[in-house]
């Protein structure tokens, strides 16, 4: 305190100068019209930019809750998209049926209630992930309380992620696509022929599509999507693009390598797919 007083005293004329200048500028701005105009407009410009900066900072603070909000909305939209596809009868489209025929057929035969909520999407954060092991798993922060159960599919905005293995109250482990036991039914979007997805155990970016017969035409860059046969995933979820096609002598099937659309190495958010038809279908098939 004594040092501070000494500092004030030693620079008393400087402080007096600053005080008098402040007084002068107050008068300049207060009593002179043109200077006041300039002062006010300049001040409003700077105040505006300061406000904007603060706004940006607080935006960043709320980023997480905003993302969660968007995730929920995404989940809802996915659900609606899926229902739309069902209602339009995309899976029934073929050479003999036009879109109008399918729509009319569905309208006549199916009560729309039977299509409602056949798939529900639960947004989740991925809290643990691995890609370098032979049998990779992920952990998500949704569990039994959120309606997650073993055997449900997990997808991201970019494509497939895996299948739920074990469930606790609040968490669940997911068998990643990058797991030696992964067998998921997938089809070529262009033709509808389906095969089985399998991981070779090498790169986190590539998988194999087995059981596509040699008489079928497959091209590099063909889109691979889920077939929807397993009732784990809805049909039409993006898996990836054909990256390499090999034929082995004496083999009736292609050896197709697929580049995954999901960046497995940097997953943050995912959706658990709940199928209301799954249990019923499974019971029926096991009978």
């Amino acid at each position: 305190m004594g040092g501070f007083l000494q500092f004030l005293f030693q620079n008393s004329s400087t402080f007096l100068f600053l005080l008098l200048e402040a007084l002068c500028f107050y008068m300049v701005v207060r009593f002179n019209d043109s200077q006041r105009e300039i002062y006010l407009s300049t001040a409003s410009i700077y105040a505006g930019s300061i406000n904007k900066t603060i706004d940006n900072a607080t935006n960043y603070l709320w980023l997480k809750s905003d993302v969660d909000e968007l995730m929920r909305e995404n989940a809802l939209l996915r659900q609606q998209l899926h229902q739309m596809a069902l209602l339009r009868g995309d899976s029934l489209l073929g050479d003999s049926l036009s879109r109008e025929d399918v729509a009319a057929f569905l309208r006549d035969t199916l009560p729309t209630d039977s299509l409602r909520n056949s798939f529900v999407f639960v947004p989740a954060n991925i809290i643990n992930n691995s890609i370098v092991a032979q049998d990779n798993t992920l952990t998500i922060d949704r569990g039994r309380r959120d309606g997650v159960a073993s055997g449900m599919g997990v997808i991201s905005n970019n494509g497939l992620v895996g299948i739920v293995m074990k469930v606790s109250d609040r968490y669940a482990t997911v068998m990643s696509l990058l797991h030696r036991q992964t067998r998921i039914s997938a089809s070529i979007r262009r033709t509808g022929y389906f095969g089985v997805l399998r991981w070779g155990g090498e790169s986190s970016r590539y998988m194999y599509l087995d059981a596509i017969p040699r008489h079928e035409k497959v091209y590099l860059g063909d889109t691979i999507q889920t077939s929807g046969y397993s009732n784990i995933f809805p049909s039409g979820i993006m898996v990836g693009l054909v990256h390499k096609i090999d034929t082995l002598p004496g083999d009736n099937y292609y050896n197709i390598e697929i580049e995954l659309s999901t960046p497995m190495a940097k997953l943050q958010k995912a959706y658990v797919v709940k199928s209301s038809a799954r249990d019923e279908v499974r019971q029926l098939e096991q009978r």
Partner: protein
Amino acid sequence: MNRIVVVNALRFIFLLLAQTLVLKRMTLWSDGFQYFQILLYPLFILLLPIGTPRALVLVLAMAMGLGVDVFYDSPGVHASALVFTGFIRYRVLRWLTPANGYGTNPSPTKARLGPAWFLRYTAIMFGVHLFFYFSVEYFTFVYLGDILLKTVGSFSISVFFVLMIMQIFNPKD
């Protein structure tokens, strides 16, 4: 000592009246004159005794500036400039210290320190004062060109008047 106080008090009044009653009207003669404003009142701050306390210089500058502002109807504009000029006076005097110091000279006048020294002193102080004044008058450096033009124009004519006055009266203090 008393004589110096009286001289400076009289100078204060004389310069304030000359500035506000005579020189102010001269700047209003024609449009061309707006680039040639004659501002003599800073001379009061220039000629204060060398030993004047710095705080007192600031207070007197404020008083003189506000006095001029009353007549120019521009509260604070002249005052802010003159307070700044008063603030740098100490530094300018220290910077211009002659080789053998100020000695016993009480006042920084032409009669005591010579015409060359006084011209430099006047040039620095008036240059700073006028630039500051016109900057505050425009209150934005968007018109920096105009500010500099006015500074240069008013500087030449003001310094000319100062030198003339010093030639005529040649005060020792």
